[in-house]
Point group: C2
Chain length 463, copies 2
Amino acid sequence: MTKPERWKAAVEDAMPAVLARLKDYVSRPSVSAQKKGIGEAARFAAALIAKAGGRAKILKEPGANPLVYGFFPAGTKGNPAKTLLFYNHYDVQPPEPLAEWDTFPFSAEVRDGRLFGRGTADNKADFVARLQAVQIVKDSEGGLPCHIKFLVEGEEEIGSPNLERYLKKYADLFRADGCIWEFGGKNEKGQLEIACGVKGIAYFELTCRTADADIHSSAGAIIDNAAWRLVRALASMKNAEHEILVEGFSDGIREPAPEEREAAKKLPFDEKVLRDVYGLKRPLITGKKGTDPREAMVFHPTMTICGIWSGYTGEGAKTVLPKEAKAKIDCRLVPEQDPVHVFACIRKHLAAKGFADIQVEWLNGQRAHRSDLKDPFIRHVIRSAAEAYGREAAVWPNAGGTGPMHLFGRYLHVPIASVGVGWYGSRAHAPNENIRISDLQEGILFLVHLLSGLSRLWPPENS
Amino acid sequence: MTKPERWKAAVEDAMPAVLARLKDYVSRPSVSAQKKGIGEAARFAAALIAKAGGRAKILKEPGANPLVYGFFPAGTKGNPAKTLLFYNHYDVQPPEPLAEWDTFPFSAEVRDGRLFGRGTADNKADFVARLQAVQIVKDSEGGLPCHIKFLVEGEEEIGSPNLERYLKKYADLFRADGCIWEFGGKNEKGQLEIACGVKGIAYFELTCRTADADIHSSAGAIIDNAAWRLVRALASMKNAEHEILVEGFSDGIREPAPEEREAAKKLPFDEKVLRDVYGLKRPLITGKKGTDPREAMVFHPTMTICGIWSGYTGEGAKTVLPKEAKAKIDCRLVPEQDPVHVFACIRKHLAAKGFADIQVEWLNGQRAHRSDLKDPFIRHVIRSAAEAYGREAAVWPNAGGTGPMHLFGRYLHVPIASVGVGWYGSRAHAPNENIRISDLQEGILFLVHLLSGLSRLWPPENS
C-alpha cells in the first residue's frame, strides 16, 4: 500500500468511532445565545482532546464562556519550532424554529447518508474530524510534524464578544505559524472551498423619533412623520445604482492584490442556480461598470437594510402617524475599512443631510481580514486540497461572511485558511442542519494529507 | 320664564332619564369590527326612537349590518315640506387594549362629572341627546317645526362599506333639506366645533418582493434588497419639503372659497399646546411658503406612511437580506380629488420611476366633501350654536378626518353640518373614552335651540 492508501484505510477504519463521538457531541445542546449546556460542552470538548492523546485545559475569564485549549506536541522527528493552530467553537445556534425540523435537533440522527442535528456542520463535525486526523497522522507517521494547538471557543455564535480578551491574555499560549479556521465545505460544483479571509461588519440601528405618541393621521398636513423622515435619511445613503453615498465610508479600502483578483475570477458562479434557489425577482447588482458578481462578493463592501419598522403593521387600514421609526443596517466591510470609522461617517453623513436627530446605535463591529495568498502555509493548504480531493479548490481571498479572524491576525500574526466538512446544503443556522458522512470521511483524509505535508513545509531545523 | 329658560329647565329635568338611557345603551357592546351585539344594538336604537315617540324601522340589506330609520312628523303648525336628517351610528370601536381602561369599557360608569365607556363620545351620547332634544321641542313647542328623520347605521367604525347601497335604495326615504352629522364637541378653548365637511381618503398598501426567501446579508453585494427598493420608491413620492411628487395627485383640487379661507383663519390654533400634547420633536410642516397650519389642516391633502416593515425587527443584530418590504400609505384628500384617480396616479408614478414591480393594493377610499358655508341651513346651525353657547363656534370648512359625507351629498343633495357633545379629551377610539355630563346637557339645549329655530328657517308654506 502507498502512504495515501494507508491513510485512506485508516480513515475508513476510524469512521464508526468518529460518528459515535460526533453523535455524542451533537446530542449535548450548547446554545450560547440561550446560555444552555455551555460548561458541559466545554468539558466534553476538553475530554475529546484528551481522548485523542492531547493535553487539554479549560480557560475561564470572568463573565465569559470558557475557552478550551488543546495541545499535541511535535513528534521526535517533527519540528518543535513550528505550530499549527485549529480554531473551532463548541457553541451552536439556537435550534428554533423547532417545528421546521424533521427530527429533534439534538437527536443526531443518520438518514440517507447524512447526519442531522444542530451543530453538526457548524461546528462540531469539524472539531471531531480534526482530532481524528491528528490521531491518524500521529499513529501512522510515528509522531506529528509540528506542535498542534486547538482553540475551541464558546461564544462564536454570539459574535465572540470575549475572544479578544482571551487572545490578548493568552497570546503566547496560542502562538502558531499557521491556522486552520473553523468553517468550510463543498460548493454546488462539488469543489472544496477555501476561505483565506472574511469580510468585516458594522451593524447599527437607526432610530427616528418625531413625537412621544402616535397621532391621528389627519395631522399629517402639519406634523412631521418619523417613517417619512427615516425613509428620506436612508435614501440619502445609497443611490439607485446601489452606490453608497456616505462620505468616508470607503476610506482605507485596500486595492486587491493581483493574485486575489485572479482567485476571485476563478470562483464558480452560476447566476441561474442563484436565481432559482432564492427565487430572485430583480437583476443582480452589477453597478454602472457591470462588475463581475464574483468580484463584488469578494471585494465590495455592502450596506444592507436588514430590517425596518414603524407604525401600524397589522391587517387592514389603520390611520396613524407614527411617532417612531427604526432600521437595522449591516455594512460588510473589506480590508482595511475600520468599523468605528464607518460608524462615525454614517453619523456625520446624517448630520450633514439634516438628520442629526436620528440616533445611530452601534450593535457590533468587526474588521475584515485577508491572509496573503502567496504565503507558503496558505499555498500548502490549497495544494493539499488539490492532492486529497483530486481537483482544484475554490479559493476565496475572503468569504462574504464575517468572523473574528482579524483578532488572530492581530494577536497571533498567523496566516489563516478556513476549510471544513460541510456542503452547500448544510443549512447552518437553519432547521435540519446536516453534514454528509462521505464529506466527513473525505475531510478527515484531506486533513491527514495537510498535516503530513507540514513535514515538507516546516522541515525539522537540523534536517 | 322666557322660552330659553323653559328649555333649560326641561333639559335639566330630563337629565336623569337621559343618563339612565345612555348608560343602558353604552352597556350593550356593539363592535362592528368584531361582529358583536350588532342586531341587539340596532333593535335597541329603534326602541329608543319609538320611546321618544318616533316611528322606527330596521332596514336590512343582505350581508350588511342593519340600518335604523327613524321618523318624527312635523307638528300641525310645522312645515311638512321640510325635513331635518340626523346621521348617527350604533356601532362602536373595539375596546382593546382592555388593560389600559381604568374601568370596564362597557360598565358605563360616572366619575368626576364624566361618563366613561366605549361608545359614549362616539357615538351613543349624540344619538340619545338628539332624541331628547326632539322630544323637548315637540312637547314644549306643541309639535315639531318640520319632519325629522334619523339614519342610524351599524358600520361606521369599519368604514361604512354598505352605506352607499342603503342610500341608493332608500334615497327617497331619507330625503331631507338639512343634515346634522354624527360627531363633534368642544375644543381646548371651550368652543363648540362645527365641521361642514370632511377630508377624503385613499388608503393603500405597497409590497415590494425581491426574492422568495430571506437571504444571508453577505449577498448584499450582488442581490437587490426589498427594503432598499421600497425606501427608494417612497422617497420618490415626497420631497424633503413634504411636497407630494406624484404627477396628477392634485388633479381636481378645488380652490377654497373666500368664506372657507375666512373660516379656516378663525380656527383656534395653539402650537405650544399641540407640541406639548404629542411631545413633538420636529418643527411643524409649513412648506416653502410658510403656510398657516390652519390652512394646511383644512385645505392640504396629505400622504402619510402609516406603517412600514421589512426583515428582522427583533432585538439585537440579525444579518438578513429581506425578501419583502411593505408600507401602508394614507392620503387625506380634499374636494374634488378622486381616490380612484389618486390610486392610478401612484401606480403610474411608481412605474415611471422604475418601480413597476412594486404592487399597490387598494385598501379603501372615500371622496372629500364640503357643504357650502353660505347655505342658509349651515348658517342656521352656526347661528344657533352662538345663541345657545353664548360664543362663536369654530367652523371647519372640512375636518381633517374622513367620513362618508360625500355619499349623503351624492344621494340626498343635502347641506351637512357636524356637531356633537364630545370634548377634546373624549378619547374616541382610545381607552377611557368619555364625555362630560355638563357637555351632554349643554349639547341637548343647543339642539333644542337649533330645532326650534327651524321654524324661522323653514316657515310653514302658508304662513
